[in-house]
C-alpha cells in the first residue's frame, strides 16, 4: 500500500471524528478549549501508534480467541504510561483532562485500528496508520476545541480575542459541542462533494 496515502487518509477521507464519527465521547467531552483538544488528541495519538506497533509485532503470537483481551491489555498499558507521565510533567493538562485519559482504553478508534488494521498489516504500515489516524483525531479535536473556545469564551489557545462577556456560554457546555461538531461536519461534507 502506498504509505503516504496510508498516512493522509486519517486527515480528511477517513478522519475518525468528522467522517467515521468514532470516539465521540472524548471528542465532545474534552474540546472545551483548543489546548485540551490538542492534548487529548496527542495523548491518543501516542497510544494509537504504540499499540498499533505492538499489536502488529505480536499478532502471530496471539491466538485468535484471546486477541481482544490481549489487545486491551496492550492498550491499557500505554494509556497508564501516558497518564503517569502526564501527571508528572504536565500536571495542569492532566487535571483538565481528568477522567478522559483512562477512558482512552475503551476509545473505539484505538481498539478499532488494532483490530481492523494492525493485526493484519506489517509493522511499518501499522505505525504509519496509527500516526495518520492519531494526527487526524488530534487535528479534529483541536479544530473543534478552537471553535468552541473562540465562540464560548472569546479566547484561542488562552489568548483573548474578544471580551469573555460576549461569549456564548452554550459552546463551552456539551450542547455547544454537538452544535459546533454538526456544522463542522456539514462544512467538510460540502468540501468533499465539491472535490468529487
Amino acid at each position: 500500500m502506498n504509505q503516504w496515502k496510508n498516512f493522509t487518509k486519517g486527515f480528511i477521507k477517513e478522519n475518525p471524528v468528522f467522517v467515521l464519527l468514532l470516539g465521540m465521547c472524548p471528542t465532545l467531552g474534552t474540546t472545551g478549549t483548543a489546548i485540551n483538544g490538542l492534548g487529548m488528541g496527542l495523548a491518543t495519538t501516542f497510544v494509537l501508534v504504540m499499540s498499533n506497533l505492538v499489536v502488529s509485532l505480536i499478532k502471530n503470537l496471539i491466538p485468535d480467541k484471546v486477541r481482544i483481551p490481549a489487545f486491551i491489555v496492550v492498550i491499557a498499558t500505554f494509556v497508564t504510561i501516558v497518564e503517569m507521565v502526564m501527571q508528572a510533567y504536565l500536571p495542569s493538562l492532566y487535571e483538565s483532562l481528568g477522567l478522559f485519559i483512562p477512558l482512552i482504553v475503551v476509545n473505539c478508534i484505538v481498539l478499532g485500528r488494532a483490530e481492523a488494521f494492525a493485526s493484519k498489516n506489517t509493522i511499518t504500515s501499522s505505525v504509519i496508520d496509527g500516526l495518520g489516524i492519531g494526527f487526524g483525531f488530534a487535528f479534529a479535536l483541536t479544530i473543534l476545541g478552537s471553535v468552541r473556545e473562540l465562540l464560548g469564551s472569546g479566547k484561542l489557545f488562552d489568548i483573548t480575542i474578544y471580551p469573555e462577556d460576549y461569549g456564548m456560554l452554550v459552546f463551552i457546555l456539551a450542547p455547544g459541542a454537538f452544535i459546533a461538531l454538526g456544522y463542522i461536519i456539514a462544512l467538510i461534507n460540502r468540501m468533499n462533494k465539491k472535490n468529487a
Binding site: 491466538p63 483481551p69 491489555v73 504510561i81 503517569m84 501527571q87
Partner: protein, 220 residues
C-alpha cells in the same frame, strides 16, 4: 511465522506473557514518574500556601482536625512572622455539596479572623459557570462578591439569596453555597483548634473537641 492455534495452552501462555510484560513495563514507568509526581503535588501545595497567606516567615506543624460529620480531616497550616508571632493560618478545607460533589479549597485566615486569600485546589464544577469560583470570589474590585478581607459572621458566610452578604456566581448558586460551606468549615475547625490549643495544647484533644463543636455548629 504461522499464527498460533487457539489451544488452551497457547491461550494461557500468550495472555500470561502479555500481562507479565505489561506489568513489568508499568512498574518501570512508575519508578521513573513517582518522584516528579510527588514533587509536583508538593510544589502545588507550597504555591497555594504562598498565594493565600500574607507575607510570613515560616510555617508551623500541620494540625489535622477531623469534623465529625465527614470522613476527611481539614488541615491547618499556621504561619508565623519573623518575631515568632502567629500571623495567619492556611486551612485546606473541602465540601461535598458542590454541583458535581467534591470541592477542595485552600483558604488563608489571619489572626483577627479575616480571609486573606483562597485558592480552589480541586473541583469538577460546570466549566464557564461554577468553575469561575477563583475569579468571582477573588475579584476585590467588586465588594459584593469578593470574600477577601471578609470576616465570618455568626452562623458563617452565606449567599445573599439565603440572607447572607456574599453575591453568588451568576447561574451557579449551588456552587457558591458549597464554596462558602467549605470556607465556613475551615473557620469552624480553625476556631476549635485555637480554642483547644490555649486550653490543653494536646493534638488528640483538638481532634476530639473540634469534631464535637463542628457537629454542633454544622449547617442546617
Amino acid at each position: 511465522m504461522a499464527k498460533l492455534e487457539s489451544s488452551f495452552k497457547n491461550m494461557v501462555i500468550s495472555l500470561f506473557g502479555v500481562t507479565l510484560i505489561a506489568s513489568a513495563a508499568l512498574g518501570l514507568v512508575n519508578d521513573v514518574t513517582e518522584g516528579p509526581i510527588a514533587q509536583t503535588e508538593l510544589k502545588k501545595q507550597k504555591m497555594a500556601l504562598a498565594a493565600v497567606l500574607p507575607e510570613f516567615d515560616h510555617l508551623g506543624d500541620v494540625i489535622k482536625v477531623l469534623p465529625k460529620d465527614a470522613a476527611d480531616s481539614v488541615e491547618i497550616y499556621p504561619a508565623y512572622g519573623a518575631d515568632g508571632e502567629e500571623i495567619a493560618s492556611a486551612v485546606k478545607t473541602y465540601t461535598y455539596s458542590g454541583f458535581s460533589g467534591y470541592i477542595e479549597v485552600m483558604v488563608g485566615i489571619d489572626d483577627v479572623g479575616e480571609i486573606t486569600g483562597f485558592q480552589v485546589l480541586k473541583h469538577a464544577e460546570t466549566p464557564g459557570l461554577g468553575s469561575k469560583m477563583d475569579d468571582w470570589f477573588g475579584n476585590t474590585e467588586k465588594t459584593g462578591q469578593s470574600v477577601i478581607g471578609r470576616s465570618f459572621p455568626n452562623g458563617g458566610l452565606s449567599v445573599s439569596k439565603d440572607g447572607g452578604g456574599v453575591d453568588a456566581i451568576t447561574a451557579a448558586t449551588i456552587t457558591s453555597r458549597a464554596f462558602l460551606d467549605a470556607l465556613n468549615r475551615a473557620h469552624r475547625c480553625l476556631n476549635n483548634a485555637w480554642d483547644t490549643d490555649s486550653n490543653s495544647g494536646a493534638t488528640q484533644q483538638i481532634d476530639q473537641n473540634a469534631s464535637d463543636d463542628d457537629l454542633a455548629s454544622s449547617e442546617q
